[in-house]
């Protein structure tokens, strides 16, 4: 009966071509938006991370500093600034924390494989701006983000991410609802036919198959459009970021696969539920 489902599903699609196209676009837009949002949020993670750690400032020490020199430097800072809490990042967390605080070092760290990672100290203080004084210290290579602007950027990034994610969810729910309503309307339009099919011995899978095919097909198109759209938008954003000297954005193959899957699975689930609820009508 697979052949029957495909043939009848194709007929349904042909008769409702515009609606099917609209359904595909309605699904592709939120799935694509969700994909772009996730990619951008992954890129903005360091900035967003500063919101939760607004009182923490990262300080990068000179890599050629010996253990004794580093201990002496730490001791002097603790003496001069008793209001600071200094923590040396453990070697096993060093690479991850360095990328978190200094994303522009990512390429360098990946290229050198962490052979000579500079020591990193995280300073917790009520006045992050006060850490700026360390920029003059010869032992220090760089002082991490600490200004209110950074914090603002982080908050804006996080807010934007939440808003985009919420918009994706709302649009996606609308699209799934649209798929369910479409199936419901088609069931109503074909009610006589379904009754006849039942009376001549058609099984439920024979009756429902074409509706599932007709819903899965726009879903497949939607998934592909969403994945392609996400790749294109992320590529464009990455180009813009690199022009500004920022690290580029990437989109993971797993995300693209998830988008393609969501395009098919979500409308199909809506169709299955609608068919379960409304296709089981009496014979006449």
């Amino acid at each position: 009966m697979i052949r029957h489902a495909l043939a009848e599903g194709w007929l349904l699609l042909r008769h409702r071509g515009l609606v099917s196209l609209f359904l595909a676009l309605a699904l592709a837009i939120p799935i694509g938006l969700a994909g772009v949002t996730l990619s951008v949020m992954r890129w903005l993670e360091p900035a967003v991370g500063t919101v939760d750690r607004a009182n923490v400032v990262a300080v990068l020490l000179h890599p050629h500093m010996g253990d004794a020199q580093r201990a002496a430097w730490l001791g002097s800072q603790r003496r001069d600034h008793p209001e600071w809490r200094l923590e040396v990042v453990a070697p096993e967390q060093l690479a991850q924390r360095l990328i978190h605080w200094f994303p522009y070092l990512k390429d360098l760290l990946e290229r050198d494989g962490g052979a000579m990672l500079p020591p990193l100290v995280e300073i917790t203080t009520a006045v992050p701006e006060s850490v700026a004084v360390l920029e003059r210290s010869p032992a220090v290579i760089a002082v991490g983000p600490r200004t209110p602007l950074t914090s603002l950027l982080g908050r804006v990034s996080r807010g934007l991410g939440i808003a985009l994610a919420a918009a994706s969810v709302v649009l996606l729910m609308s699209a799934v609802l649209l798929a369910a309503v479409w199936v419901h309307l088609e069931l109503y339009r074909h009610a006589d036919e379904i009754t006849i099919m039942r009376l001549v011995g058609a099984t439920e899978s024979t009756i429902r198959g074409p509706f599932l095919v007709a819903t899965a097909a726009p879903g497949l198109v939607a998934g592909a459009l969403a994945a392609l759209g996400t790749s294109a938008v992320v590529e464009a954003l990455s180009g813009m970021a690199e022009v500004l000297g920022l690290p580029g954005l990437t989109v993971s193959p797993g995300l693209l696969a998830a988008q393609a899957g969501a395009g098919v699975v979500l409308p199909l689930a809506a169709a299955v539920i609608t068919l379960m609820r409304h296709a089981a009508v009496d014979d006449e």
């Binding site: 006589d192 006849i196 039942r198 009376l199 001549v200 011995g201 006449e284």
Partner: protein, 222 residues
């Protein structure tokens, strides 16, 4: 083949069938007759489980169908060939597709379904209209397509509800002779009609329904 035991059927408190007891043996030809509203169509609908009785038992081919599970309905209906009073043809499918469609449920390959559908259409003189849609056919032609569909898979039980209602006398006679042939080959045929001339054309068992009860059960004419 068929057994009804103390069957009642009510619609909104109005009794359509009353305490009906009936047995039809395999290979029998049975006329069901009576005035309009006597319960002929309801009786047939009980046999292919389009209706459930209010009380009593309905057995078809050794299977109790008055409380049959929904999942087993397709299996029952594939054993029964029903010729509907209002044809029940699929409007978007051609004459040939209306028949091959049902044959495919029975596991026939597309080629075999096509061959058998063509043969049955030829037998009913409709092979030249195989590509027409039902709406392009006359009432009589649509009736013959409905008959072809019911006969195509050679069911052991044929239920015909006023099958000659849209046919002229010659075609009605041809249909009856076709049903007699099928019956002769071993199929059980139950034919509901209020056309007395049809009843008189062949000697067979007949039941006369009146007000939902059997008033006569025996060979026709009495």
């Amino acid at each position: 083949m068929i057994r009804l035991r103390s069957v009642d059927k009510e619609y909104d408190g109005r009794k359509v069938l009353r305490n009906l007891d009936l047995q039809v043996d395999a290979g029998e030809f049975l006329f069901v007759t009576g005035p309009s509203g006597a319960g002929k169509t309801t009786l047939l609908r009980l046999l292919y489980a389009a209706e459930r009785p209010t009380a009593g038992e309905v057995w078809v081919g050794g299977e109790r169908v008055d409380n049959i599970a929904r999942a087993r309905l397709p299996g029952l209906r594939r054993k029964v060939g029903v010729i509907f009073q209002d044809f029940k043809l699929l409007r978007r499918k051609t004459v040939l597709e209306n028949i091959t469609f049902v044959l495919r449920f029975h596991g026939l390959s597309p080629r075999e379904a096509h061959r058998r559908a063509y043969l049955v259409l030829k037998r009913l003189g409709l092979h030249h209209r195989q590509s027409a849609l039902p709406d392009a056919l006359s009432g009589g032609e649509q009736q013959r397509v409905a008959i072809a569909r019911a006969l195509a898979y050679q069911p052991r039980l044929i239920l015909a509800d006023e099958p000659t209602g849209n046919l002229d006398a010659d075609l009605a006679g041809e249909l009856l002779s076709l049903l007699c042939d099928i019956n002769y080959q071993g199929a059980t045929v139950i034919l509901a009609t209020h056309d007395n001339s049809l009843l008189e054309s062949i000697p067979a068992r007949a039941i006369v329904l009146h007000g939902g009860a059997i008033h006569y059960d025996g060979t026709w004419p009495p």
